[in-house]
């Protein structure tokens, strides 16, 4: 189940709150990039039965989405590509690319940029930095935000390509023995519980049933 409305992000003076409305016995997983940069509103989430394999199944959904992105990148010239996010999806995309993937500014304009934030500002910036004939892959949730830009200079004249890829979805149980890449697997989903403070910057989040699960900005 891909739930577009199961999890809602709220922001107030105290910080960020994720409200989950889940069926009984389910948990939700949210990519870290969907929380850190997003405005208030519904957040794309993977909603799964809360059992011992929940984390693995959710991770497999993210991995499948990442593999699709990597396939798109495989047709690009063998030059550095930029995958700037800090969420699980970004990690999973970077993993098979190895040294070809950069997180930020590399040497020369990138031939491709993968955006996992959905942030219009980041997307606009990426478009301006792309090399002529380059490709931007939209893998983050824009959440109702459209991008206003000079289409001629920022997209048309340099013949750029923008490709939208769908949100991660559950697509059946992962094959036996499937595991996340080791270094990604180290990033356990940060379990957030209602009315408890959490630290920001997790790779991904596990939301437990019902109630409001809050993540407050750290106090000094």
């Amino acid at each position: 189940v891909t739930a577009d409305t199961a999890v809602t992000l709220h922001r107030d003076h105290a910080g960020v709150f994720l409200e989950a409305r889940l069926p009984p016995g389910h948990v939700a997983f949210v990519d870290g990039d969907a929380v850190d940069q997003s405005p208030a509103g519904p957040v794309e989430a993977i909603v799964v039965t809360n059992d011992a394999d929940a984390v693995r199944r959710a991770a497999h959904a993210f991995a499948t989405a990442a593999r699709h992105v990597v396939e798109l990148l495989s047709v690009q010239p063998d030059r550095p590509v930029e995958v700037a996010g800090n969420g699980l999806l970004a990690h999973l995309i970077r993993a098979p690319l190895g040294g070809r993937a950069t997180i930020g500014l590399g040497e020369g304009p990138p031939v491709a940029v993968v955006d996992t934030s959905g942030s219009p500002a980041r997307i606009a910036d990426a478009l301006r930095r792309l090399d002529e004939l380059g490709t931007l892959i939209l893998a983050g949730q824009a959440r109702g935000r459209d991008l206003t830009l000079n289409l001629y200079t920022d997209l048309h004249r340099r013949s750029l390509t923008i490709t939208g890829v769908p949100a991660p979805v559950l697509n059946g149980p992962p094959p036996d023995g499937w595991r996340l890449p080791v270094h990604v697997a180290l990033a356990e989903p940060r379990r957030v519980v209602a009315r408890t403070n959490v630290l920001p910057g997790a790779v991904w989040y596990l939301l437990e049933p019902e109630g409001t699960i809050g993540r407050q900005q750290p106090t000094t």
Binding site: I123, A139, D146, L151, L155, H156, R157, S159, T163
Partner: protein
Amino acid sequence: VAVAGKGLIGHGIVWPALGQARLEPMDAPPPRPGDIVVDITTSVVSPGTERAWFLGLPNARVDFPFRPGYAASGVALEVGDGVEDICPGDAVTLLGVPHQSVATVPSERVRRVPLGVGARQAAMLQLGAIARYGVRRASIGAGQPFAVVGAGLVGTLTRRLAAADGAGPCTVIARSHTKEAVAGTDADRFLAVADGMDTVNAVGAPVVVDATGHADGLVTAVAAAAPGGRVVLLGSQRAESSILPIETIRKKRLQVVGTHVCALERELALGLSNGITGEADVVLDALADGRLCVDDLFPEDDLDPREASRFYLRLVRDRTIVGVSFDWTGFPTSGERRTTAGRRRRSTTIGDPFSGAAGPVRFGMIGCGEIAVLSAEALSLSPNTSVTACHDLVPRLASDLASQLGAEPSATVDALLERSDVDAVLLSLPHHLHAPLAVQAAEAGKHVVVEKPPANDLAAAVRMVRSVERAGVTMSICFPQRYEVAAVLARQHIEAIGEPSGVEVRWFADKPPSYRYNGFTGRSSSDWRMRRERAGGGVLLMNLSHEFDLIRHLLGLEVDEVMAVTTNIEGSGEVEDHVTVGVRYQNGAIGWFAATAAARGLREESLRVWGRDGHLDLKPVPVVYTLRADCELPVERKVRLRPRAVWPARAVYFSRFATAVAEGRPPDVTGSDGLAVQALLSAAYQAADTGCMARPANLLKEAGA
């Protein structure tokens, strides 16, 4: 006519600044190794791009002076060393060459035109290459449905090139139905965004090409695309900011592909394609084997380059233009500078105004005061009119004129009308007497000429004209200014201004206070000119009525709405001595008229009309300026119309009236013409009285006309 080693002189279109265009001599240098000199016969306009350049729209700023255009064809004149595949005499098409009659270009921008491909078809090559690049980037497969947003030239070429590859069916999406006729010739379906986005959202095409260049074109294309589809951004956006619908693109898993011809150079460098010439060759092949047809995209005749300025002004306002081209065959290249290319001698010759005069018609003059003196002289000068009788309430005036004209004074109107040697009467009377005496004369079987204005008010004028019509005699209102030599010349050249846009008339005079009692001559003392009921009005009716008629005569337009302000500065009498009138004509043109009878020390008249293609000053000095090359006038130069003859306009008026009577046809100036002027005068007075816009047509209807 190449001059080897010296280069050639031709002409080219130059934009000296934003929104300005003109034709100028230009040089084509001798060919260097690898160059080809081409005598250009046709250059095709890229409407969207050139409109954007001309207006300085966002993303289309160019440096001035600028030479517009980039698609042309012609014949190779001379080739430089190292050019092997093109020979002098070959028909060639050029990539990236401006609108000009001759060009020296590198051979890689020249392609030989295949047999069977015409000059205008070939000149489309650069535009075709742009469209072809869009088709390639769109990866439209054979049998695959697709949609094109935009029905302009590039959009149409894109559609046809895709269809030439077997793709289809095609849906065309445009902002409105304006270009449906063009698109409808080969589009399978036509949708207008103006009809609502629901139908656009339902298109669901696997490939959509946005060829609009509009800020909202991409949003429309994205809406029309099927999930997983491909959207090609082909048109260059002429907006600083546009919306990129990133959420929809992602949700629909779309691929949005920017496609600009500039990137072809990079593709060539990377070995991804053969660059623009590769696309061009595909287009030439399609033209040669008939898979691509473009002739129908050029519904109008080729443009005369001398009309460049006129054309670009039209291009700005006319969004229906799809395909147009300049014809350079009238501008042969030469080794010598030709500064008078295509210029024709203007003609201001006009014929004898009295030729063909028929008659004679014998006049009886009723009213022998002020203006009658001028009319009497005119009737004497006219070869086919004479005066046989004169009447005035002041017998001295009638006797005076009669003695000068060899006519007989009549003691009464009835006596004059009973005379068998009077065919027509001329009424030169206080205005309130025009209608009753015209009716009386007509009922006596006499033709009638009424000095302007027709009457003192519209109702009387309508009664008069209808009664005269019923009597079956010929009637005319005396508006002799139509026959001034300058007015005749102006009418000859009025087409030079194109569709009229505006009128400005000023009539300033310093009438002495005595005028109100004695006129200018003092022949007859009366205060009727000061009485609104008897005169009908002041300077507006007395003087501007001539200009109202003259403008109608020149432009053939009726006034739709009138606003006016009048005042009586001198304070004597009941009629205005200052007036300003603003009008809107039926075609949307506007006019303003200002007149005063009490501007101390001034005697000034000016009359100017202008249109989309030029302007014409009739007064004080006849001058015409045009952007058109088909008017036997130099283009883009003020030309003074110098008459080669002078004649008495009032005499011409009477002569032509007499000829009309003799030939049994309506006169030049009919009673209906008089009613139109009278209605305009009445509307102006009503507007001045009420402060509200008045419509002459409504007043005519109310008066029973």
